[in-house]
C-alpha cells in the first residue's frame, strides 16, 4: 500500500501511509486505538476507499470496490468478532453464498467433504456439520480461517484474533498461523498484546495518529521501545503503586453456589482493598461475579455486606446493597450505545439527579461533565453518543457510571480488555484512586500480570471452585499456575 491518505470530516485518519508486507511472512501491526489500523485494513478490504494512494498486490495496482473484489485478489480477513451465522453449520458458513450446485440442487456431500478437508488440513478434528453455536471459540476462529483459505487467500489479515480465546486455544492458533506461513501464505497480524507479536511475527509496523512510525524486525526492537513508539512518549510499564492498607471486611461471601458453575466459594473483601480473581476462562470467575451482583440467581450460600446478611435476587438488590459490576463486554452489556455519555453515566443513579421522580437536567449535565472530566474521557462533549467513542474511552464511561452510582464494592470483570496500553495505564491509576478513596474492588482478569500487579490479595478459581488464596507476599505467576494445575490433577484423579 503506497501513499494512502484517508480523511474523515475533521480527522485525517491516515496520512500518506506506505506499508508493504513481504510474501510468506507474518507481519505485526500495532498502534493505539484510533491510530488508524482498522481504517488501513478496511481500505485493503474494500470497505472504505482511500482518498489518494494505491494498493499494489503482486506488483499490480488494484482498486477494490468491495470485499468481494479483495477476496478475488486473495485477501482474506479475520476479525475480532466472528462473522459467522450461528444457526448454520460450519460447512455452510465456509461456503456461504457459494454452495456448490449440482443438478439444480446443493451438492451437500461435496460441500461437506471440501469443508472437512480444509478443517482437517489445519489439524483440528471436529465435524463441519456441527452448527456454529455448538463450537468453541477456537473452533469458530478456525472456521473463519478455513473460510479465508477456501477463497484461496494469499494474504490473511487477522485483527485481534485471540481476544476470545483461552491460553491453550491461542497456542493452537499460533501453530496454525505458523503452518500457514510455511505454506507461503502472508499474514498481517494486528494485536494489542505485544507478547503475541513477539511470539509469531517477524516484522512489526507501528502506526500512530494515522502515520507509520517505524517498521522493524521484531528481533531488533524491545517491547518498551514499541510501546514508546505507539504512545509517542515513554511509558512506565510497571503497575502504578498505591499506598493503602485494607481496612475492615465489607463483603463476606460464604459457600456461594450456582448449580454446576460456581461451587461453594467463600472469600471476603476489605475496605480499600483490590482483590484479584485469577483463573482460566470458564473457571467460574464471571459467573461468581454475576451471582454476587444479582445478575444471576444463586442456589446456595450467604452474602454479607458490612456485617449484615443481605438477600440479593436482582441487580437492583445488588446496587441497593452497594455492589456494582463492570461487565467484560462493554459494547453488549456495559453501555447503551445509542445513549450519549451523559445518560450512560447517570443511568445507575437517577435519584441523584432528580427530585420526586422528575429529572433535573442542569444537575444531570453537571454531574456527567464532572465524572467525565475526572475520568479523563476524551470527547468534545458529553452529548456525544457512546457508540462513537474509542474502546478506552467507552471503558472510562462504564467506570464513570459505576462511580456515579456511589457503590462501595465494585467488581471489575476484565476492565482492560481490548484497550490500548496508554488507556490501560489510566485505568490502573483510576483503580488505585478508588482503593485510596476507600472503595473495595474485585478485579477479574485473564491477563495474569495485571492481576498480580494490581491486587493486594488474589483468590484462584478453577472449575467453579476456590483453589486457594495468595497474599501480596506470596503472589507470583508460578504460585497461581501451580494452584490451577494442582487442581487439574486432582480432578483427573477424581474422574
Amino acid at each position: 500500500m503506497k501513499g494512502i491518505t484517508k480523511t474523515f470530516p475533521g480527522v485525517r485518519a491516515l496520512d500518506d501511509v506506505t506499508f508493504s508486507v513481504a510474501r510468506g511472512s507474518i507481519h505485526g501491526l500495532v498502534g493505539e486505538n484510533g491510530a488508524g489500523k482498522s481504517t488501513l485494513m478496511k481500505i485493503l478490504n474494500g470497505v472504505l476507499y482511500a482518498d489518494t494512494g494505491e494498493i499494489i498486490v503482486d506488483g499490480q495496482p488494484c482498486r477494490f470496490k468491495d470485499t468481494k473484489e479483495a477476496q478475488a485478489k486473495g485477501i482474506g480477513f479475520i476479525f475480532q468478532e466472528f462473522n459467522l451465522i450461528n444457526t448454520l453449520t460450519a460447512a455452510e458458513n465456509i461456503y456461504l453464498n457459494r454452495l456448490k450446485i449440482r443438478a439444480g440442487r446443493i451438492a451437500w456431500k461435496q460441500v461437506n467433504q471440501d469443508a472437512q478437508a480444509l478443517i482437517d488440513e489445519l489439524g483440528f478434528n471436529f465435524s463441519v456439520t456441527e452448527k456454529i453455536i455448538d463450537l468453541s471459540a477456537a473452533q469458530k476462529q478456525l472456521v473463519e480461517i478455513a473460510k479465508a483459505l477456501s477463497f484461496d487467500a494469499k494474504l490473511i489479515v487477522m485483527d485481534e484474533p485471540t481476544s476470545s480465546l483461552t491460553t491453550n486455544e491461542i497456542e493452537k492458533l499460533f501453530e496454525i498461523v505458523k503452518k500457514l506461513k510455511s505454506e507461503g501464505i502472508t499474514i498481517i497480524y494486528i494485536s494489542h498484546k505485544l507478547e503475541e507479536i513477539y511470539s509469531i511475527c517477524q516484522t512489526v509496523t507501528i502506526l500512530r495518529d494515522g502515520q507509520i512510525i517505524d517498521t522493524q524486525p521484531v528481533s531488533s526492537i524491545s517491547k518498551n521501545k514499541i510501546i514508546e513508539l505507539m504512545v509517542g512518549r515513554s511509558v512506565d510499564m510497571e503497575f502504578p503503586k498505591r499506598n493503602t492498607v485494607p481496612g475492615e471486611i465489607v463483603l463476606d461471601v460464604q459457600n456461594l453456589t450456582r448449580r454446576g458453575i460456581v461451587k461453594g466459594v467463600t472469600f471476603n473483601l476489605r475496605k480499600g482493598e483490590v482483590l484479584g480473581i485469577a483463573g482460566l476462562v470458564g473457571s467460574g470467575r464471571t459467573e461468581l461475579a454475576e451471582a454476587i451482583f444479582g445478575a444471576e440467581k444463586h442456589d446456595d450460600g450467604i452474602i454479607m455486606v458490612k456485617g449484615k446478611k443481605v438477600a440479593i435476587h436482582s441487580t437492583y438488590d445488588g446496587k441497593s446493597n452497594s455492589i456494582g459490576l463492570l461487565t467484560e463486554d462493554r459494547k453488549e452489556t456495559g453501555l447503551v450505545l445509542d445513549f450519549n455519555i451523559s445518560k450512560n453515566i447517570t443511568i445507575t443513579n437517577l435519584p441523584k439527579v432528580s427530585k420526586s421522580g422528575i429529572l433535573i437536567n442542569r444537575l444531570e449535565k453537571q454531574y456527567a461533565q464532572q465524572f467525565s472530566d475526572e475520568l479523563g474521557v476524551r470527547t468534545p462533549s458529553i452529548n456525544q453518543l457512546t457508540i462513537n467513542l474509542s474502546g478506552g474511552n467507552q471503558q472510562k464511561v462504564v467506570l464513570a457510571k459505576w462511580l456515579f452510582s456511589d457503590v462501595d464494592i465494585l467488581i471489575l470483570d476484565e476492565p482492560t480488555r481490548g484497550i490500548d496500553v496508554g488507556a490501560k495505564y489510566e485505568i490502573y491509576l483510576l483503580i488505585n484512586q478508588l482503593a485510596e478513596q476507600g472503595k473495595s474492588i474485585i478485579m477479574i482478569s485473564s491477563e495474569l500480570p495485571e492481576v498480580l500487579g494490581m491486587s493486594d490479595r488474589v483468590i484462584v478459581l478453577n472449575e467453579g471452585k476456590k483453589k486457594g488464596e495468595l497474599s501480596r507476599d506470596e503472589l507470583s505467576a508460578e504460585a497461581v499456575m501451580h494452584m490451577i494445575i494442582r487442581s487439574e490433577g486432582e480432578n483427573g484423579g477424581n474422574n
Binding site: 441487580t315 445488588g318 445509542d338 445513549f339 443511568i347 429529572l359 452510582s405
Partner: protein
C-alpha cells in the same frame, strides 16, 4: 433549560431540521397543497374535525410509542379497545342514571383495560414469551370474549351526559381534543423529564445493560403493557361518547394504525429512541390524509390503501435521509 435553548438553536438549522423531522415537512407541504386546491380545507371547522378524528386513536398511538421505545409491542390494543366500548356501554345502560354511576362505569372500564394489559405484561415478563405472540393471543382471546358477550351485536347507549361529553366543546375546542392533548402532554413530560421515562428508554435501548445497571427492566416492561391497556380503555370510552355505541366492528385496525403513526412520526422500531411528540405528528399526517381524501371526493375505502402507501414512503424516505446523514459522520 439548557436543553430547551439547544432545541431552539437546532431549529434554526433548517437542513438539520429537515433531516430530523421529515414528517413535519411532509405534513406542512401536504396541508399547503390541499389548502390551495380546496381553500375550505384549512377552515376552522375542518381543522377542528381533524383533531376530533385523531383523538381516539391518538391516545393509543401515544402509548404504543412508549411500548415501542421500551422494546415492546401490543397487538391486543384493538381488542381491548373493542371490549372497553362494549363494557362501557353496558355499564352505562345499567348505572348511567347518576353522575356517580357514570364515573363508576368509566373507572371499571379503565381498570378492566389495565387488567388486560397487566396479564399481557405478566406473560411477557414472567413467562418470557415475546410480546408479539403474547399480544396476538390476547387480541384473539379478548375479541372472542367480546363476541360471546354481545353475540356479535352492537350495544348502544342513549346516555345524555356521555353524548354531551362526545360532542361538547369548550372555547370552540371539543372536550375529546382536550383529553388527547393533555394525555400527550403528560406522556411527553413523563418520557422526557422523569426517571420512569428515562428507564423506559434505557430498557428499550439495551435491556441487558439496563438490567446490569440495576434497573428493574421487567417492571418497566410490565408497566408499559398496563399503560397501553389503560389508554385502549380510555380510547374506548372516548369513542362511545362520540358514537354512543360499542361494537366488535369499531376499531379493529387500531393497534396497527398506532404502530403506523409511531413509525411515520419517526420513532425507530428497534427501541430506545423516539418521542410521543413525533407520534402526535404522525397521527396528524394520517388524519389529514384521511380528511383530504374525503375532500377530494375519493371514497373512504381508499383510506386504507393510502395509509399503507404513506407508511412505506415515509419510512423509506426516513431511512434514506438517515443513511445520507450517516455518511457525513
Amino acid at each position: 433549560m439548557n436543553q430547551q435553548s439547544q432545541g431552539l438553536k437546532k431549529s434554526f438549522n433548517i437542513k438539520r431540521f429537515i433531516v430530523e423531522q421529515p414528517v413535519f415537512i411532509i405534513f406542512l407541504l401536504f396541508s399547503i397543497v390541499i389548502g390551495i386546491l380546496k381553500p375550505n380545507f384549512l377552515g376552522l371547522s375542518n381543522v377542528r374535525n381533524l383533531f376530533m378524528d385523531i383523538s381516539v386513536y391518538g391516545v393509543v398511538a401515544c402509548t404504543m410509542t412508549i411500548a415501542i421505545i421500551c422494546g415492546e409491542f401490543d397487538l391486543s390494543a384493538s381488542s381491548t379497545f373493542i371490549w372497553s366500548q362494549i363494557l362501557f356501554c353496558t355499564l352505562l345502560n345499567r348505572w348511567g342514571g347518576s353522575a356517580l354511576g357514570i364515573l363508576a362505569a368509566a373507572i371499571v372500564t379503565l381498570i378492566s383495560g389495565m387488567i388486560i394489559g397487566s396479564v399481557n405484561g405478566l406473560i411477557v415478563t414472567r413467562l418470557k414469551i415475546n410480546s408479539f405472540i403474547t399480544t396476538l393471543g390476547m387480541m384473539i382471546i379478548i375479541k372472542g370474549v367480546a363476541l360471546v358477550f354481545t353475540d356479535g351485536k352492537m350495544v348502544s347507549t342513549s346516555n345524555g351526559f356521555i353524548a354531551k361529553m362526545g360532542t361538547g366543546a369548550l372555547l370552540g375546542i371539543p372536550y375529546l381534543v382536550y383529553i388527547y392533548v393533555v394525555f400527550v402532554a403528560i406522556a411527553f413530560f413523563v418520557m422526557k423529564y422523569t426517571r420512569f421515562g428515562r428507564n423506559i428508554f434505557a430498557t428499550g435501548g439495551n435491556a441487558v445493560v439496563a438490567k446490569l445497571s440495576g434497573i428493574k427492566t421487567l417492571f418497566y416492561k410490565y408497566m408499559v403493557f398496563v399503560i397501553i391497556g389503560f389508554a385502549s380503555a380510555l380510547a374506548g370510552i372516548m369513542l362511545v361518547s362520540q358514537v354512543r355505541a360499542g361494537s366488535v366492528l369499531y376499531g379493529t385496525d387500531l393497534a396497527l394504525t398506532a404502530v403506523a403513526a409511531t413509525v411515520i412520526g419517526g420513532t425507530s422500531l428497534s427501541g430506545g429512541s423516539g418521542s410521543v411528540a413525533k407520534t402526535f405528528l404522525g397521527m396528524l399526517v394520517l388524519g389529514i390524509l384521511y380528511k383530504a381524501l374525503i375532500f377530494l371526493g375519493l371514497q373512504a375505502y381508499y383510506q386504507t390503501l393510502i395509509k399503507g402507501l404513506v407508511l412505506v414512503v415515509v419510512v423509506a424516505a426516513d431511512a434514506y435521509l438517515n443513511r445520507s446523514g450517516n455518511i457525513r459522520k
